[in-house]
Symmetry: C2
Subunit: 165 residues, 2 copies
């Protein structure tokens, strides 16, 4: 286990990287907050799902997720259809409109990233992504034991399912 000073430094960076997230949030189109953008991305990547699953992937309370989803549904970017298997749930899906918006978003983000950290290698990006996922798993999942080494090649994530986000 690392020493206290190292952990304090880690926590400080954890707060400070927020400025990157905020900067990325600034280029979003009207009506699309950072939270909304993440929801769109997850629905595009993992396909239709329920609120609870989405909340897991977002690492956020279900009530928060519910608000994001309501917002996106009001915009017509996602669709909430009843879950035939469970009357309490609804299935979330991107609408064609939502897909179009997401494509715009992705384009803008790619442009911004192309300007900035363009000297990052695949390996660096993968490693940072993996380490953040693993850190999250350490906190989210008490029984976590990510002995699986860092991603030497494939963009593998820690084994905990909630982290395969």
């Amino acid at each position: 286990m690392a020493d206290r000073a190292q952990y304090e430094e880690l926590m400080r960076q954890l707060s400070a990287v927020g400025c990157v997230r905020r900067e990325l949030g600034r280029i979003l189109p009207d009506g699309c907050s950072s939270g909304s953008a993440t929801v769109l991305t997850l629905l595009a990547r993992d396909g239709e799902m329920r609120i609870g699953r989405l909340a897991e992937l977002l690492a956020v309370d279900m009530s928060v997720t519910s608000r994001h989803v309501t917002h996106l549904a009001a915009l017509g970017w996602i669709d909430r259809s009843p879950d035939p298997a469970d009357g309490r749930s609804r299935i979330l899906r991107l609408t064609p409109e939502g897909r179009a918006r997401l494509a715009e978003l992705s384009e803008r983000t790619a442009q911004l990233l192309a300007q900035r950290p363009n000297d990052w290698s695949d390996e660096d990006v993968r490693r940072l992504t993996w380490l953040m996922a693993r850190l999250r798993a350490s906190f989210h999942d008490p029984r976590s034991d990510p002995r699986a080494g860092p991603p030497e090649d494939g963009a593998r994530s820690p084994r905990t399912s909630a982290v395969t986000t």
Copy 2:
């Protein structure tokens, strides 16, 4: 440069690690928010400084920093004395009370961390810290060119001064 999907994954993790920061924030004593804690830590580590410098280290607007500082000064945990060299500025310092509180904080945090990611090696913690700092530098500092390799040993940071946070 990595491809778009990798960057999107990076951004998603960037949002999701927020849950770690929030969990750490939950163990803070009354009156001490997450932002306050970071201010205390920075003043302890880097010694007395002005608001502007503190805002840089926090990677946050000066107005935000001003509010945190006002809060901590009201609690008596830090002290704002006039800057003899510049009448517009004030010098921020931890008070003995502030130091005591910080020590408590550090203790609690260490306990929490000892429960959770206790399987992290020094190397892992250092690497993650360094990569986050570098990511921030890529955005904060347009002319950044962090060719300096990752930290093979010492907890070195990217060369940009604003990142030696």
